[in-house]
Amino acid sequence: MIKLVGLVPLLPLIGFVIIGLFGKTLSKGIVGIIGCGSVLASFAISLGIFFELTGKVEKSVTIDLFSWITAGKLSIPFSFLIDPLSSLFLLIITGVGFLIHVYSTGYMSHDEGFSRFFAYLNLFIFFMLLLVLGSNYLIMFVGWEGVGLCSYLLIGFWFKNTAYNNAAKKAFIMNRIGDLGFLLGIILIFVTFGSIGYHDVFAQAKNMATGNPVLTAITLLLFIGAMGKSAQLPLYTWLPDAMAGPTPVSALIHAATMVTAGIYMVARSNILYTLSPIAMETVAIIGVCTALFAATIGLAQNDIKKVLAYSTVSQLGYMFLALGVGAYTGAVFHVMTHAFFKALLFLGAGSVIHAMSGEQDIRRMGGLKKHLPITHITFLLGTLAIAGCPPFSGFFSKDEILANAFENNKLLWFLGVLGAAMTTFYMFRLYFLTFNGDFRGTKEQHHHLHESPKSMTIPLVILAILAVVGGFVGIPEALGGKHFLEEFLKPVFEDSSFRMVHSLSHDTEYMLMGIAVLVMAGSLYYAYTVYVKNKTLPANEGEELTPLHQLVYKKYWVDELYENVITKPLNLFSDVLHKLVDNQIVDGCVNGIGRLVTWVSGIIRYAQTGNIGFYVFVMVIGIVLILCTQIF
């Protein structure tokens, strides 16, 4: 199966080419079949690769497809690296991707851009697979940029709406800032190690001293890239705006796969990070700050997708926290469980929006329990999972992260728990406001309420099952489980393992779990009191808010800050450059030369008669003369 790895990204690419070229002439059914089928086939192959890899002793296989770039010293093969980490990501991407494809056939069925949507989705899957499969940083970068492009295309999918286009542009430009860091990091890696293949780089890095400043620089630059892609503070503002895209896109790209590329990258470069403690600390601090910061914003949002978006930012912060404290397995574990329950939540939200004919404001919902039973159950399961309720998947992964954080730094742990409490609160706030109570929308909406079609509910159910049981691959030893995932991923993080000493006693772990569950339960109860018992509703637009609430509701005015501090001075500066330097100095030189030539040629042009015969005649005479000089 591993031999067929070339097909994994190729199939979605073929799907993209077919749908992209002939999409308009094909029927929606065929487009859906091609779109889903190519991803399903990739999933099947990925599954085969996964099982073949588990059975193998050698856990890292490099497949050379062809020689790609050869210039001077630089020789970059186009090759794929199959190891536990990439095979796990393959499964997540193709598996969740397939479910979301199926979901999209239902969700987008009435959209005129149906085939375009599927072409983009397939292209996205292709680039994402390239990102995780590449055996060097350049292929990863190609995939990285490719998914950025697809993200841009899909956020601005309904391009007739200017606001959506602006959101797409924002996402694109913010990502570019991060990508610049990433690119510089790659260049620095090449300069330092003379290669950008993972194998060479890590082998050389292993022998470097801890705290090497070059490594710190590299890791920090790479982390800037990760900040952009994975929406960390301060480059997170694009992700909430990215919710402008269709909901499956939010689920696939902006929750389950693309935003975890940063985690993947850091996890992939774990050796480099392990060897630079400063970078590790930066990652951890930024991670926990993002987790808290986004969670506070999430408390006050009223748009169902915005809440989930901030929740995603927050959860990504958790993952970075995990990376920062050296719990790479925990981060990957959380990536996996998060992919399940966040995709589930987004798709559930999509189902709700579908039922509400496009309404996204939770103040207009409520009482949907009766009308959308399947969505309701699955959404509840997803909420429990993200809240960290045992034994749902989120509990295990979050617990592992928190345990590692506790081990590393008590303050980080405390902030993490605080974030978890807020997560529970806002998620249940969302759940209660949406599904409990009375319906608050208009009459037409009420009349229109219906459960979504099979193609949408089946993925929901599958994802719900995964969200429930997904955590069992990583039951910690304290609970008598065997951490399968850790075993599986061990070869990847082998070299960094000296940082990951498990010194926590089982008692401490029990205590931590207990605290987490207690906090979760308390938060849940508080949310229940506020939104179910007291039936409090979020304030409507224009109502007076408390200053703190206002601060959170307005997302700390970060967007406005960026606008005033960065964008406006930059515009001013460019204006000055344009008016002074470009118009006066550069144009002056160019125009001066032009005027000089005009003046000279004005004199010379009288030699031209315009009679072609004359020219030919002169030419022949010239040839004769030249030949004469040759002979004599």
Binding site: K3, L4, G6, L7, L10, I63, D64, L65, F66
Partner: protein
């Protein structure tokens, strides 16, 4: 180069020429017969047994007709043109392998007048200069209908030559030779090229129709709009030359199509029953002619079934359909030949 060799080649050439003319002659008869049958009529059946002498009667009629040369025409070119047409039509027969070789008194005599190693290119070259006869004739008549017909003929032939050439290139890629004799020899048994190149064969046949100016591509001479097109002003035997050239072209086209795509003189399974070389060669000639006759019949069958194209449709078909298709065929052929290399890139 012995004298005997020269005589043998001369005899062969003369036989080919005679047979070509004979078949062209009887093609006129066959055309009328086929047209009649397809239209629930009987066709000519008065001159001789089943009208078998009809071509002779036609020839006599054409010879007896009054010869007219328009006073405003360019007389030299007017007279040369039909001859040129007939000449180019007859020139193609020399590279077609009519059979394997006969062994008489221990000497082997090939049934191909000459096996050029660039036979296909020779065919192509002769076909490409075939347009001069029509163009010169149309221009020399100094008649607007003739000129229009000539222009149509030339642009049509140039357009369809491209698709024809590209489809032939795909054939050359699979056969790996430019020699017509070798192509015919390669197709022994069931190895007919149509099985390898079905799309190329289709394109070639369509282009052959266009190159011979046969319906549904007979725009250069369509009777309704152009009153006969390039031969409006021609009468008597000069007119006959043009008609003859058309039928010879049809015969040669059928022969070429049979040789290129339908196995030429080969017939599957015949090697099991017949072992005598000479008999086999003669049978080969018979088979080839059977195929050719079917080809000629097919030409007629199409003519009396399918209505004529409009001129823009003709150009659209040539440039927008056949040329892309033939390029696709070329690419597919190349991809098929390189399939192992391509697959090995993705599957290690």
């Amino acid at each position: 180069m012995t004298l005997g060799y020269v005589i043998y080649k001369l005899i062969l050439a003369v036989i080919v020429f005679t047979v070509t003319l004979l078949i062209a002659m009887y093609s006129t008869y066959a055309e009328r017969k086929v047209a009649g049958f397809l239209q629930d009529r009987l066709g000519p059946n008065r001159a001789g047994w089943f009208g078998i002498l009809q071509p002779v009667a036609d020839a006599v009629k054409l010879f007896m007709k009054e010869e007219m040369i328009p006073s405003v025409s360019n007389k030299t070119l007017f007279i040369i043109a039909p001859g040129l047409s007939l000449l180019t039509a007859c020139m193609t027969g020399v590279v077609i392998p009519w059979g394997t070789s006969l062994t008489i008194f221990g000497t082997s005599y090939s049934l191909q007048v000459t096996d050029l190693n660039i036979g296909i290119l020779y065919l192509f070259g002769v076909v490409s200069i075939g347009v001069y006869g029509i163009m010169i004739g149309g221009w020399a008549s100094n008649n607007k209908y003739s000129l229009l017909g000539a222009m149509r003929a030339s642009s049509q032939m140039i357009s369809y030559e491209v698709a024809m050439g590209i489809s032939i290139i795909a054939l050359i890629m699979t056969t790996g030779t430019l020699s017509v004799g070798q192509i015919a020899a390669q197709q022994h048994g069931w190895h007919w090229n149509i099985l390898v190149q079905p799309l190329g064969c289709l394109i070639f046949i369509i282009c052959a129709f266009a190159e011979t100016n046969r319906a549904p591509f007979d725009l250069p001479e369509c009777e309704q709009e152009l009153v006969g097109g390039y031969h409006t002003e021609y009468s008597s035997m000069k007119m006959g030359f043009y008609l003859f050239a058309e039928y010879i072209n049809m015969f040669v086209s059928s022969a070429v199509i049979s040789t290129f795509y339908f196995g030429g003189y080969n017939m599957p399974f015949i090697g099991r029953f017949v072992h005598d070389g000479n008999l086999l060669a003669i049978l080969g000639v018979v088979f080839l002619f059977a195929k050719i006759f079917f080809g000629i019949f097919f030409f007629m069958w199409v003519r009396w079934t399918i209505p004529r194209f409009r001129y823009d449709q003709l150009m659209n078909l040539g440039w927008k359909t056949l040329i892309p298709l033939s390029i696709l065929n070329l690419v597919l052929t190349g991809a098929w030949m390189m399939r192992h290399e391509i697959i090995s890139v993705f599957i290690k």
